[in-house]
Each structure stands twice: as C-alpha cells, then as structure tokens.
Symmetry: C2
Subunit: 212 residues, 2 copies
C-alpha cells in the first residue's frame, strides 16, 4: 500500500511537471548553419499523427538540428500561420507550409516582389497549392523574416528561408511565446497584408507612358 501510494505520488509529480512544461512559454534561440538533415519523419508524423514511421531512403541523418527544431515549431500550427518572408526558396520549409495548408491551417504569406520570381523560389508552388500570397510594389525590400503560429508564437530573426542560408550562413532565429512581441508583429503583419491587397495595386503609376 505504501508502494502504491508512493507510485501515485510520483505519477502526480510527473504529470504536474509535464503540465508545467506544456504551460511554460517557449523561449528559444536557434543558430545556423544547421547540419543538413532529413525532415521526412517530422512531415509524416504531422500529416498522419501516430502512423508508423516509414524509414526514409535518403542518405541524410535525421535528428535534432536547428532546421528540425524550426520545422517542429512550424508544424505545431493548428489554426493559422502568418508568414512575412523576404526570400523563400527552401523546398523543405515549403513542404511543411504546404502540409499545414492541406491540414486546414489558414496560411497567409507576404513576400518581396523582386525576390519571389528568382530561380528556386517556392512562391509559385505555394500559390499553385492554393495558398494566399501578397507582395509589395515598392523599390524598397519587404525584408522581414518572421512567422506567427496560431497568433501565439513568434519566429523571427536574420534567416531567409533558403537552403543556402540554412546550411551555409551564420544566422539566428528566435522563437517566443510572448504576447507583447507577438502582438507587435501581428499588427505589422496585418498592416502589410492590407497594404499589399491586390485591390490596391497600381498598374499604371502616374507619369508612366503606359498610363498616359
């Protein structure tokens, strides 16, 4: 009976610790370059939770890297994913975003007009998949690199979503569940989303020959 009581107490403590861990807001910094890694298992688990993982035939190691941590945070989205990305050419991250879209997460993506058409850009593929994309019309760059998961978690830093940046550059990404910072970035996102509404595009700027 004493043993049973002790076991119950241990279980209660373990449950309390687990609950506290779940409740504790995320505060993380990821530094890059990241070792190349396979994220197929993460994507498979997100697509079909609990399904038996099939081993991926690719030669890349799986395991804990800055890239896999970033992907995990993104895949935790349940309702919404707001993306504000200067450059987006990493196919692995595009797979993750597309998967969320298929799973019913509302994905909105703001990007830079001059970079979205570059070779390797994933923007066309994501648009083709039905994801809403808006871009600027300015000479200045839309240079943000942030994501907001479920209006709750902010992912921001120096990292463009390119394979070169992930594998070769010195970069940082902060992940914060912090209402004050999330609010500031969410408001910036909504400002930009409205400003870049295609209904507001100007196709014949004043002074252009076409507009005469």
């Amino acid at each position: 009976a004493v043993l049973a009581a002790a076991m119950t107490a241990v279980t209660a403590v373990a449950l309390a610790v687990a609950a506290w861990r779940r409740a504790r807001p995320v505060r993380e910094v990821l530094f890059f370059p990241s070792r190349p890694c396979c994220i197929e298992a993460l994507l498979a688990e997100a697509a079909e939770p609990g399904a038996a993982a099939r081993p991926c035939p690719c030669p890349l190691p799986s395991g804990d890297t800055s890239l896999s941590r970033l992907v995990r945070r993104l895949l935790s989205a349940r309702r919404s994913l707001d993306l504000c990305l200067f450059s987006f050419s990493c196919p692995q991250l595009a797979c993750a975003v597309q998967l969320l879209h298929r799973r019913g997460v509302r994905v909105r993506l703001v990007t830079d007009a001059q970079y979205m058409g570059l070779y390797g850009s994933q923007i066309g593929r994501l648009r083709h998949a039905g994801i809403q994309v808006r871009h600027d019309q300015h000479s200045g760059y839309m240079h943000h690199k942030f994501a907001i998961v479920d209006r709750r978690m902010l992912i921001t830093g120096s990292l463009n979503w390119t394979t070169q940046a992930i594998q070769s550059n010195r970069e940082n990404v902060m992940v914060l569940e912090d209402a004050e910072y999330v609010k500031a970035f969410q408001e910036e996102f909504e400002r930009i989303w409205e400003e870049y509404n295609p209904a507001n595009y100007i196709f014949f700027p004043k002074g252009s020959n076409d507009g005469a």
Copy 2:
C-alpha cells in the same frame, strides 16, 4: 501643512515611478522604414552630456523615429558594444559607434568578408578609427544583424545597418534586456570572435596553387 504633506507624497510616488521605470527591463520593437531624421543632437548630447545643444543646420527634422530610438539605445553603452553585422554602410550609425569608441567603450565588430569591401561600407573608416574588426573567410555569409550593449541589452532583427534598409525597407528590430537571450547571443558572438581571430586565417588553403 496638509498641502506640504500631500506634495511630499506626490513627489515620493513620482520618484518611485521613475525608479520603477528605470528598473523595468527594456522590451521594444522598432519597425522600419524610418522617416529620415537628424541625429546630430543625440550625438552631441552623448559626446558632451549636458552641453547646450547647438542647432544643426541640416534640413532634416529631429524627433522620435525608429532610427533615433535605435541610436539612443546604442549610445546608452557605457562599457562594451559587441556588433555582429552582415552589412554596415550607414554613416549615421558609424558616427554613433565611433563616438562610443572615442568615449572609451570597448567596441568589437564582426562582419561579412564579402560585404565589407562594397562601396559605401563603413568598415574601413571604423578600422581606421582604431576599432577592432574581424571577418569570416567562408563562402557562406556572416548574416547576423545584432548588437549587444554592455552585455545587458540585445538589439537584433532583420535590419542591415544601411541607409537603404533604414529608409526604404520593411524591417524589424527587437530591443531586449533579457538575460537568457543576451547570454545566447553573447556566446554566439564570442564563438564567432574566436573563430574569426586573424591568427586562425588560412592564407594558403590546401590544394591552392599558391600553397604548393
């Protein structure tokens, strides 16, 4: 007597609020583009605190902008300023850094080898002024854009320190007095600072003709 007591109470409350404000850690987000502004008054005050401000003859407005806030945070440095900057071509920010160096603040600057030689780069000027600069030797970019003031305040985001970015781009900069995040970035800075020590430069890589 009642009035005097009331005045004393009001003063005490005001002092307490001021102390609390001073003690409250900084948590700020700056969004760009910033309106162009004159920072001469900020620099003059930092160079000679309390000196009567001479009006600047330039036509730019002074006042509260994202740029002036960023400059104020930098100029608050008393002991050290660690800079990890992909691209640094903004003359105004270079003036602020040079002023801190003259005032005896220990400035260390890490930058990207491929960008430090571009037209308009302020790196040569800062080196000439006696500031320690180190750079990478890699094909990947040193793409961080962060500053640490007095090992206490982290300034980080998407903003390269260029006039184009400040005045034309959509950018974010977070300013945090947060021991956990400062520690993570300070450690990254020290890692890079050591790795980029000129004593470790390789001038004749294996396999190069020069090294044969």
